[in-house]
Symmetry: C2
Subunit: 382 residues, 2 copies
């Protein structure tokens, strides 16, 4: 642990008086350090006028009290330099200058036994709050596969896809992390109180906003960049055209993470945003947890076999037998002589092969001749 | 018309004694011409032994009778050199040497008023015979859009997606062509007799196999290359991993046509082959007829706007009002003073803006303070 108490308290102060993802305050803290930026904020009126909101709150901020109170409730404040600081978050350096929210947080509030520097390899599974039962099922199954494979499933604890993802990971005894827009001691939505308590007890609940913070729109936008940054890749399961999940996906793309999308019905509005993302080349199509593992795997690891159809009964035949089979009509029976002509083989050989093919049900003999067997007919092209 | 009677009859003969897509016979006919290849077949025993099946049938072939009988039933035999010969089919030259079936047909049997040299711009819409109602609906709607936009919809008249595609084009008063594996005078499947009669009366039914031919497996494989070659692009609507529609798609790819796939539920086996195709980069994802038109359109034509979310109520607010709105809690109300602190604005201005925002329902005032309005809450990120 190389972070001084002074620096930790300075960073807690900055965290208390600014909003998550405030690119100017975070950028200056990253460059100057917390202690120095705080001095600047206190001492230089010219600069301070740039940060009216933060400066205005400085007088009332009580960082020591907040840190103590948090510790008492087993909430820790992890800052850059701590052993537990997740290195992938540093990829956010300077990111966001052109956006509403961005850059590296001055610190993260964490509740739960899971160390957030050890999430890797982690995958974000996010999507619509207004998901369909299809989206919930796919997200849950996918998270279960990822969790069972040792991946940490990161999501936002929202209704719909997020909830299904956390639950799927938990049911597979996998690890999962909820990154919130409100304080880690709050439950938003309230209906997820129990799940969040479970995650806080056995996994981890993370937020950039101090304990007690309410969920605000800007905090959701700031939160999305953390989900993207903490993970190797983001899977969007269902997302309408206007969806926060697409904001997470675009952060993942900006941070050179792998962006993946699960397709669905083209008639479902809940899949529209995902289809648009795949169409535009912004996401790879994935259909299951194994697809995700393949895309994220180290080279050679989790390389999926190209999905081939199971070997059909035809594949096990000799070339001559196939030649005969190919010449047998689908439905209206033909005489052996006619089949021999089409196949370009002698009639005796063909009759012998037809008898053999009939034994395995490839062909059937009717009074008027031969035709394909029921099962083979059903595998005929188109 | 520059094709001599002798050449036409020679080609009809070759067509009668060989199977559709026989790469050796078709290749030699293409290089030597029909008359010369037929001479070779008759005169050179050494070479003839390579074509046992064809040579064996030569004695009994009655090309003049077949052509006359066909003409009587308004079936024409279109060969290379005819005005009606579709130039795109020549792209099949030499194609198929490594495959079971291939090369340019010696001729095509056509029933119906639609000239097959004037199908362009044409689109193939193909897919599973065991389609779901979802697949049928999407194929039908897509074909209707394509038909209404002046595209000829080409398919295989099979159960499922093919049938839905033909029907969709017909209901939109579009043009449609069925390419069959059996003779154009036969109905396979029998249940499509009425539709095929309709197409033969008002559109076109095409086959490489002579009238009267039964549907054989090799004829389906040969047929698929014609569907791909006759069109600018192939859309696969639903296809299991082992599906003839994927064979059509791979022909389209081999012929440098555009290959497109419609996504569906990842739980549906009927979409598995399409997802695999998109995943592997073998097809572009399309969700509707307009997507297809965009991909196939001449440059500048049919360029879809990137689908943006409709402008939300928030987009119409002033920057200051948005700043305030962003600082209003989602569910638990906050006092105006607290909102002013978060927003970094003066309390008077914030109170004024909150009143304005309340009028449009962006925020609502409760006894304990302000929170987001119902409608805005539902558009919050994730």
């Amino acid at each position: 642990m190389t972070v001084s108490d002074e620096e930790r308290i300075a960073r807690a102060t900055i965290n208390l008086v600014t909003e998550p993802g405030d690119v100017r305050c975070l950028g200056l803290t990253r460059e100057l350090g917390g202690v120095r930026f705080l001095e600047v904020l206190k001492e230089q009126p010219d600069l301070r006028s740039e940060f009216v909101a933060a400066a205005g709150r400085l007088a009332s901020a009580q960082p020591e009290r907040v840190l103590e109170e948090a510790a008492r409730r087993r909430i820790r404040f992890v800052v850059p330099g701590d052993d537990e600081w997740p290195a992938p978050l540093d990829d956010l350096s300077g990111a966001g200058m052109l956006h509403a929210r961005g850059d590296v947080p001055v610190g993260l509030w964490v509740r739960g036994p899971l160390r957030i520097d050890r999430l890797d390899p982690a995958v974000a599974v996010v999507g619509s709050r207004s998901s369909t039962s299809y989206g919930d099922q796919v997200a849950g199954d996918m998270a279960a596969v990822l969790g069972a494979a040792g991946r940490t499933v990161v999501s936002g604890a929202a209704h719909g896809v997020d909830y299904a993802a956390h639950r799927g990971a938990v049911t597979a005894d996998g690890r999962t992390v909820a990154v919130l827009a409100c304080g880690v001691d709050r439950a938003y939505p309230l209906a997820h109180q129990q799940m969040l308590d479970h995650l806080g007890e056995h996994h981890a609940v993370v937020s950039e906003a101090p304990p007690g913070s309410a969920p605000l729109r800007i905090r959701f936008l700031a939160r999305n960049r953390l989900i993207a940054a903490l993970t190797q890749g983001t899977v969007v399961v269902e997302a309408a055209v206007r969806s926060g999940a697409l904001n997470t996906a675009s952060w993942a793309d900006r941070l050179h993470r792998t962006v993946m999308g699960v397709p669905g019905s083209v008639i479902s509005a809940a899949s529209e945003g995902v289809h648009e993302l795949i169409r535009a080349g912004g996401a790879s199509l994935v259909t299951c947890g194994d697809d995700v593992l393949e895309l994220l795997g180290a080279s050679g690891e989790h390389l999926l076999d190209v999905r081939r159809a199971p070997e059909g009964p035809r594949d096990r035949l000799s070339i001559r037998a196939r030649q005969v089979l190919d010449a047998v009509p689908v439905s209206s029976p033909a005489a052996a002589a006619s089949i021999a002509r089409v196949a370009g083989l002698g009639i005796e050989e063909v009759e012998l092969l037809l008898d053999g093919l009939a034994v395995d049900g490839h062909v059937e003999r009717l009074p008027s001749g031969w035709r394909l067997g029921e099962e083979v007919r059903s595998t005929i092209a188109q």
